[in-house]
């Protein structure tokens, strides 16, 4: 039955469609857009089917080529990655839907190749999340990274150099991950995650395991852009085209965060991750610095996209903080924040794409009268901003609430204070944007300009852009209102039982 093959189809459909995209482009260039939408819709449907199967029957183990693990590669889908799969396919579908005008506008003549790489990027993300084999994960990690370098490099002026720096750092991260795989293979002789989880506890005293764990954590932290290792991210995501940054910013960091959670709590036992090395303490302090530093750096930016990119650095800090707290509430908040932040960041970056397309600017100071020009887009910006600040009933509130509960459970009062402080900083950030966009300049400020007489015509973004933006806004509210249900049906199974 085709439903039984759904785990493989989620990966295979975008991959085959990516390779067929140039052929579709040969026939008719405009068809590429619809072709990409169709393949991502199919992948979304199969991932929802797979999630339904996981919810009704529990964890799915799919053996590729019918080779039994640990000899063959297997795909393992439990509650955590079933959620990630729906998130990845859904977000990439919405970003592709949004990209019709902006791709033709920003990359004329290169749309066919853009969509090919776009689908390869999605394949990489899905593969990282779905696989149950550590080396297979490395291969998919590199597929996702290579597609990401290409997607960044086609952007504006400084993009190739930003992409080059991303390559250098990204390769270091991936190679460290590969070294971690090598060290684990040296002592266990296995590459299968579940098999490793059974073999490793006897070897926890070994120094080789500690080295492997350290290499894994550093490698993944580079990919995830955790604070001291985030230097590649701001330039790369600011200079990438709107459609690329809307795909990369919400997903790349979250997928890497997923890998970190997998390594710490599936491959290694939670007690090892917490007790053998002071990794949780290091992680949570790095996360706290990331939260504050990201928000402070964002304050200094005049460019909306650059401001969002620094906010992303601080949001990655929230996820790492939840992992570092290592208790039930903290990790629940962290996984919930993966979901919520992907939704918020997608909405915000899509809004930037719409503003760039219509208003031709990203500088916040140029946003005057934008609420009259693009009322619907700016309305969505306000809602997404409120969610980043963390105001109920938007989803940002609930994940922060669980993180604060986790910090209180761990008796780390300073983390709770930092979480509240960062909400204040985010409020300052977004109210600055809202002030420029909504408040009319006073008469003396407008002196010398002839704005007074000008009637601002409404020039709203096209429907293909507004629909995904409002789907994101709906997601922000739904994830917020139904966060209790999301936790009870999906996330509580993802948190290790010993917490």
């Amino acid at each position: 039955m085709i439903v039984e093959q759904s785990p493989a189809l989620i990966v295979v459909i975008p991959l085959i469609c990516a390779l067929a995209t140039p052929i579709v482009g040969l026939v008719r260039k405009e068809w590429c857009y619809y072709w990409v939408l169709l393949s991502l819709l199919a992948a979304t449907v199969f991932s929802i089917v797979t999630m339904g199967r996981v919810l009704s029957d529990g964890t799915i183990r799919y053996f590729l080529g019918n080779w039994d693990p640990p000899y063959g590669i297997e795909y393992v889908i439990d509650h955590l990655n079933a959620m990630m799969l729906v998130l990845i396919t859904g977000i990439s579908f919405l970003v592709a839907f949004h990209s019709k005008e902006s791709v033709a506008d920003e990359m004329p003549g290169r749309t066919v190749f853009f969509y090919t790489v776009f689908l390869l990027q999605v394949t990489g993300f899905i593969g990282i999340v779905i696989t149950g084999d550590v080396f297979n994960l490395y291969v998919f990690l590199e597929i996702a990274s290579l597609a990401g370098y290409a997607l960044v490099a086609i952007g504006e002026d400084g993009a190739p150099l930003a992409s080059f720096r991303y390559i250098i750092l990204g390769t270091v991260g991936a190679c460290f991950y590969l070294l971690g795989v090598g060290y684990l293979y040296m002592v266990t002789g296995s590459l299968n995650m579940l098999d490793l989880a059974q073999l490793l506890p006897e070897l926890y005293h070994s120094k080789v395991i500690l080295v492997a764990f350290a290499f894994f954590m550093v490698g993944v932290a580079v990919k995830m852009a955790l604070f001291p290792l985030h230097v590649w991210l701001p330039d790369a995501y600011t200079k990438a085209p709107s459609a690329s940054s809307a795909l990369l910013a919400p997903l790349m960091t979250k997928v890497a965060a997923y890998v970190m959670i997998r390594i710490m709590f599936t491959i290694f036992e939670p007690c090892f991750s917490m007790e053998m090395l002071p990794v949780t303490a290091v992680l949570s302090w790095a996360a706290v610095i990331a939260i504050v530093a990201g928000a402070v750096m964002a304050l200094a930016q005049r460019d909306l996209k650059r401001m969002l990119v620094y906010i992303l650095v601080s949001e990655v800090g929230y996820i790492a903080l939840g992992v570092g707290l290592a208790n039930r509430n903290g990790l629940t908040g962290s996984i919930l924040h993966i979901l919520n932040d992907a939704c918020m960041m997608m909405t915000l970056f899509l809004i930037v794409g719409a503003i760039v397309y219509k208003a031709r600017t990203r500088t916040i100071a140029d946003f005057r009268f934008l609420h009259r020009k693009m009322p619907l887009t700016m309305g969505a910006l306000v809602i997404a901003g409120l969610s980043v600040i963390g105001i109920p009933p938007t989803c940002g509130f609930f994940s922060k609430w669980y993180l604060i509960l986790g910090a209180v459970d761990a008796k780390q009062w300073i983390f709770a204070v930092v979480l509240l402080l960062s909400s204040l900083l985010n409020a300052v950030l977004f109210f600055r944007v809202i002030e420029y966009a909504y408040l009319e300049p006073r008469a003396e400020d407008a002196h010398g300009h002839d704005d007074e007489g000008v009637i601002i015509r409404m020039e709203e973004a096209p429907v293909t852009m507004l629909l995904p933006i409002y789907a994101g806004v709906a997601g922000i509210f739904l994830f917020g209102i139904y966060s209790g249900e999301i936790i009870s049906t999906l996330i509580q199974y993802a948190v290790p039982t010993c917490f």
Binding site: Y138, V139, P160, L161, F164, I167, C175, L179, M186
Partner: protein, 126 residues
Amino acid sequence: MLEFIVGKYNFWIYIILMMIGFYAMIAKNNLVKKIIGMNIFQTSIILFFISIAYKKGGTLPILYHAHAHGEQAYSVAEYINPLPHVLMLTAIVVMVATLGVALAIVIMIYRKYHTLEEDEILKASK
């Protein structure tokens, strides 16, 4: 001490190569030299994987001339572990792809700025 250095020489070689590559990636000003450093870095990891598969006196994990007499490896202890080699074939493909993307981007940079020195590019882009 001598045992620690000589007995594990494969690890020392891989670490030294890796550090050479790492140094070039961080300290060199020329973009192509950075890419060469990246390649040395990746190659050191290939050597690491291959060296952990080695067994003294091991042979191929293949039953060639199944009917012939002579040396045949039947038990695991007799042949070299083939799996790290297979993994590294995949890793080589990944590394070639990385190299290709990196060189393509360097060409893009050169066409725009007519230089490959990072400080000159930064000066030109400001």
